[in-house]
C-alpha cells in the first residue's frame, strides 16, 4: 500500500477481457462497413427473383448459390444483413433508453413508485423476450418490430440499472454528497455521466446481441420483416422447405447472423446480460 500517488496515470493494461472486446468491436466495425457498402457490394437488388437458376449450388458465378426463387444468395444475404443490423441498432437504442436510462431514473423516484416500476420490470423480465416482442407487435404493427423487440428486451436492463442506481444511491460517497447539499438531480447527472460513459458500449452491445436474436426469431415466425425488406431471420424461414436439399439457402444467412451476434457478444465482453 502506498500512501503517495505517483504523478503518472496508471496506463491501460492488456487483459484477456480487453482483447475479447477489441476483437468484437473490430468484427462489428467490419460488419458495419459491409452494411454501409451493401448496395455497392451486392450485384443484384434486394428480392430480385430469377436472377439465376433456382437452387444452384455455390459456384464460380454464384459464390453462395441461389435460392428457390433464383435470387443470388450473396446479394440477398448482404441486403438482409443490412436490414437486420439497422433494425437491431434501433432496438438496441430502445433497450438502452427504456432499460438502462429509465432504470436509473426510476430508482430516484419516490420509493413506492420506484419499487412498483421495478416490480413490473421484474415480472416482464421473467417473461421470455420473444413472447413479449410478439405480443407488442400484435398490439402495434409489424413495422414497429424493432421498437417492440427493444421494449421486450428492456425489462432486464431496467431492473439491472435500477438495482445499480439504488446501490449507488446508498453508497457512502452519495451520502457524503447529500450531506454537503448536492441535489438529487446533480447526483443523478453524476451517475448517468459516469455509468454511461464507462459502460455505454458494453450495455449497447449486450443489448444488440439480445435484440438481434429476438428480431430474427420474430421474423423467422413471420411476425417481423416483410419482403422486399427481408432480414436474416426471414431468409432462414424461407429456406425451411429446401434446407435438406440445398443447405446453403439457410446456412449462409445463419452463419451471417451467428457472426453478427458473436461479434456483439464479444464486444460486450461475453457478458450474458439481457439474454433473449
Amino acid at each position: 500500500m502506498s500512501l503517495v500517488s505517483t504523478n503518472e496515470v496508471p496506463g491501460p493494461t492488456i487483459t484477456l477481457g480487453g482483447v475479447i472486446r477489441a476483437v468484437g468491436f473490430i468484427g462489428l466495425g467490419a460488419i458495419g462497413v459491409t452494411v454501409g457498402l451493401s448496395d455497392v457490394l451486392a450485384r443484384a437488388p434486394a428480392d430480385a427473383v430469377d436472377y439465376g437458376p433456382p437452387l444452384m449450388a455455390p459456384s464460380v458465378h454464384f459464390p453462395l448459390g441461389t435460392d428457390v426463387l433464383g435470387r443470388d444468395m450473396a446479394s440477398e444475404t448482404l441486403h438482409a444483413l443490412a436490414v437486420t443490423v439497422t433494425n437491431a441498432g434501433i432496438a438496441a437504442i430502445v433497450v438502452v433508453v427504456a432499460g438502462g436510462l429509465a432504470g436509473f431514473i426510476a430508482a430516484r423516484l419516490p420509493y413506492r413508485i420506484g419499487f412498483l416500476l421495478r416490480g413490473i420490470g421484474g415480472i416482464l423480465g421473467a417473461v421470455p423476450a420473444l413472447l413479449l416482442a410478439i405480443l407488442f407487435i400484435g398490439l402495434a404493427n409489424r413495422g414497429l418490430a424493432p421498437f417492440a423487440a427493444g421494449l421486450a428486451a428492456a425489462p432486464l436492463g431496467f431492473v439491472r440499472a435500477f438495482d445499480r442506481a439504488r446501490a449507488l444511491g446508498q453508497s457512502r460517497h452519495a451520502e457524503f454528497a447529500r450531506a454537503t447539499g448536492i441535489s438529487p438531480g446533480a447526483l443523478l447527472r453524476r451517475d448517468l455521466t459516469y455509468e454511461f460513459r464507462d459502460s455505454f458500449l458494453s450495455i449497447a452491445t449486450r443489448a444488440l446481441a439480445a435484440v438481434t436474436i429476438v428480431l430474427s426469431t420474430v421474423s423467422f415466425f413471420g411476425y417481423g420483416a416483410t419482403p422486399p425488406h427481408r432480414d436474416l431471420g426471414l431468409m432462414i424461414a424461407a429456406a425451411r422447405d429446401v434446407y435438406f436439399d440445398a443447405w446453403w439457402t439457410a446456412a449462409i444467412p445463419a452463419i451471417a447472423l451467428a457472426l453478427f451476434v458473436l461479434c456483439a457478444r464479444l464486444a460486450a465482453g461475453l457478458d450474458e446480460g439481457e439474454r433473449a
Binding site: S5, H173, F176, T180, G181, A186, R190
Partner: protein, 528 residues
C-alpha cells in the same frame, strides 16, 4: 547453521520502471521471542518486506535475496516460500483482510483450521480460547457477523485472537494497530505483549508512526527508500535519534499543546443546540438536555470511542436525523421547521473531511470532485470554476496530479487531501472533520494537520471534529465534549479537560492518547 529465527539477506524488491527499488539489499535478523519494529513512512519498503515474508509479493515485483527460517537452510525469496517455522500474518482491520459479507467468526475459524490442519470445530474452540485469554476482547458470538457490520476494533480483536490461536513462532504484524482508537490500540498492545510473554513468539511489526514502537519497545529499525537508516532499542530511539530522517519522523508525532484555554466565542453562531436529546438504540434512554453553541471560527471536538454517539450527535446537528427533543438552529435557521429540500440547500455550507476512503466517488476525476460543489451550487463561468479548483488543488499539494485521473487511482493520503480541496472551494460555515488522520503515516498526519489548520485560518469555518484521539482533538479544536454510551459525560475547554479530567473514562482516553515520550504503557484504567 543460523541461531536466528529469521534471517533476511540482501533482499531486493523492484518493480519494472520504478525509479528506485522498494527494498534495496536489506539484511536483518529476528531472534526467537524478540520484538522488532520496522518504522517508516508509507512506501519506505516495510510493506514490500511484509509481502515477501508473507509469501505474497505483488505480481509485478521482482524479488531477489535469501530468507532463512530457523535452522533450515537459506532459500531464495521467491513467491510463497514454505517457512520452516510457524508464522502468523496479522493485518490491520482497515486493510479489510476479511470478506466483508461473510461471518468474521467463520472466516477466522477457517484460517486457523487451515493453518493448524485441524477440523473446523477444533479451530473454533482454539479461537474461543484465544479470545477468552485476551482481556477486553469480545465473545466469539460477537464476531459471528459480517465484518461490514462490525467495528474495526472488534475485527482487530478477532484478527489478533486468530493469530495467537495459530501458536506462532513469528508474528508478522502488518500495521495491525493502525487507525484504531487509541484506547483499543493500547488494550490490544497489552494483549499482544501478554501473549508474547506466554507463547514466546517473535514479533516483526511494520509501523507507520512512532507511537507503536514506543508501546512495543524491543528493537527498532527505521527505513527509508528501501534501506535501513537507523537501528537500535526503541526506548533509546524514542528520545535520542542520530539520523536526521529519524528525528523528522519522531518530530512529526503530535505533541501536547500547552496553550491557555481559548474561548470558542468567535464569529456568528453556526450551530445553536437547545436542550436536545439523542436517541439511543437501547430501550431505556436517559435525558441529555444538551445545550451549546458553535460559532464561526471556533472548533468543537466530539471525543469518544466507536458507538459512543458522536456520529449520532453530528447527524442530528446537521439535520440528517431528527432529535427526539430539542431545537437546533443552523446558521440562524431553525432546522426543525425546514422542509427536506430547504435543509439540503442549507447544507451547501457544510463541508466534510473524513478518514474513510470511500467518501469520494471513485469514478469521478480529481477536477470534477473539487469543482462539483461550485458547479452545482453556483452559476459561475467555467474559467472561474476552473480557477477556484486549481487554487484549491494547489493549496493541498495536488496540483501536479493529472486532473482527469480518477479518484479510485489515488492513495489514501491523496484522497484525504482531495477532500480538503473540495471543502476549500465550498467556502463552508461548518466543516465536519471526522477522524481525519486515521490510517495515515506520521508525515501524512503532520501534513493533514497543517492543511486543516490552514483551511480553518483562511476560510474560517466552525470545526466539528469527531475523533477518538485526544491528541488529534487537541491539534484541531479548543473545546470538547467527551461522549460515552450515547451521552455527553464531560464538556468544556479541551485544555481544562486535559488538565483536570473529571470522569474516569476521560482519563482513560487521555492516557491512551499519551504522546511518545510518556512511552510506558499505562495500566488499564477502569471504564466508567
Amino acid at each position: 547453521m543460523s541461531e536466528h529465527l529469521l534471517t533476511v539477506t540482501e533482499l531486493t524488491v523492484t518493480r519494472p520502471g520504478a525509479k528506485r527499488p522498494e527494498l534495496d539489499r536489506l539484511s536483518l535478523a529476528v531472534d526467537a521471542g524478540e520484538t522488532l519494529v520496522i518504522l517508516g513512512e508509507a512506501g519506505c519498503g516495510k510493506e514490500a518486506l511484509m509481502r515477501v515474508l508473507a509469501g505474497a509479493p505483488d505480481r509485478d515485483e521482482i524479488v531477489d535475496g535469501t530468507l532463512q527460517f530457523g535452522s533450515a537452510s537459506p532459500e531464495r525469496a521467491v513467491k510463497f516460500p514454505k517457512p520452516a517455522i510457524r508464522m502468523s500474518y496479522l493485518p490491520g482491520p482497515f486493510e479489510q483482510p476479511l470478506n466483508l459479507h461473510v461471518s468474521a467468526l467463520s472466516q477466522l475459524t477457517r484460517i486457523i483450521a487451515r493453518k493448524l490442519d485441524a477440523p473446523r470445530a477444533s479451530a473454533q474452540e482454539e479461537l474461543g480460547l484465544a479470545l477468552g485469554r485476551l482481556s477486553g476482547a469480545p465473545k466469539p458470538a460477537d464476531l459471528d457477523r459480517p465484518p461490514l457490520s462490525l467495528s474495526p476494533e472488534i475485527q482487530a480483536w478477532g484478527l489478533f485472537a486468530a493469530a495467537f490461536a495459530q501458536n506462532p513462532e513469528l508474528l508478522l504484524a502488518d500495521h495491525s494497530l493502525a487507525g484504531l482508537a487509541p484506547g483499543h490500540a493500547r488494550a490490544l498492545t497489552r494483549a499482544l505483549l501478554a501473549e508474547q510473554a506466554r507463547l514466546g513468539f517473535a514479533i516483526l511489526y511494520a509501523a507507520m508512526n512512532a507511537e507503536t514502537p514506543a508501546w512495543l519497545k524491543g528493537r527498532l529499525i527505521v527505513m527509508r527508500h528501501g534501506k535501513i537508516v537507523e537501528e537500535g532499542p526503541a526506548e533509546r530511539l524514542a528520545t535520542t535519534q542520530a539520523h536526521s530522517y529519524t528525528q523528522t519522523l519522531f518530530k512529526a508525532q503530535p505533541a501536547p499543546l500547552n496553550d491557555k484555554p481559548r474561548a470558542s466565542t468567535r464569529g456568528q453562531p453556526v450551530i445553536q443546540a437547545y436542550r436536545i436529546e439523542m436517541a439511543k438504540p437501547s430501550p431505556k434512554r436517559m435525558r441529555d438536555d444538551l445545550t451549546f453553541e458553535l460559532r464561526r471560527g471556533a472548533a468543537l471536538a466530539l471525543i469518544g470511542d466507536e458507538g459512543s454517539g458522536r456520529h449520532t450527535l453530528a447527524r442530528i446537528l446537521l439535520g440528517l436525523d431528527r432529535a427526539p427533543a430539542g431545537r437546533i438552529v443552523f446558521d440562524a435557521v431553525d432546522i426543525g421547521v425546514l422542509a427536506r429540500n430547504m435543509m439540503a440547500r442549507l447544507r451547501r455550507r457544510v463541508a466534510f473531511v473524513a478518514g474513510a476512503d470511500d467518501m469520494l466517488d471513485p469514478r469521478m476525476t480529481i477536477w470534477d470532485t473539487v469543482a462539483e460543489p461550485l458547479r452545482t451550487h453556483l452559476d459561475l463561468p467555467r474559467h472561474v470554476t476552473a480557477s477556484y479548483r486549481d487554487v484549491a488543488l494547489k493549496r493541498v499539494g495536488l496540483a501536479s496530479l493529472a486532473g482527469n485521473r480518477s479518484v479510485a487511482t489515488l492513495s489514501a493520503f491523496d484522497k484525504r487531501r482531495l477532500q480538503v480541496a473540495r471543502a476549500i472551494v465550498s467556502a463552508p460555515v461548518l466543516a465536519v472533520i471526522d477522524e481525519p488522520l486515521r490510517g495515515l503515516d506520521a508525515f501524512a498526519q503532520a501534513v493533514m494537520r497543517d492543511l486543516l489548520k490552514n483551511f480553518r485560518t483562511h476560510e474560517g469555518p466552525a470545526f466539528l471534529v469527531i475523533t477518538s484521539d485526544i491528541m488529534v482533538a487537541q491539534s484541531l479544536a479548543e473545546d470538547a465534549m467527551i461522549m460515552k454510551d450515547g451521552r455527553v459525560i464531560e464538556r468544556g475547554s479541551l485544555a481544562d479537560i486535559l488538565r483536570a479530567p473529571k470522569a474516569a473514562y476521560t482519563l482513560s482516553l487521555i492516557e491512551a492518547s499519551a504522546p511518545v515520550k510518556n512511552s510506558a504503557l499505562p495500566p488499564a484504567v477502569p471504564q466508567g
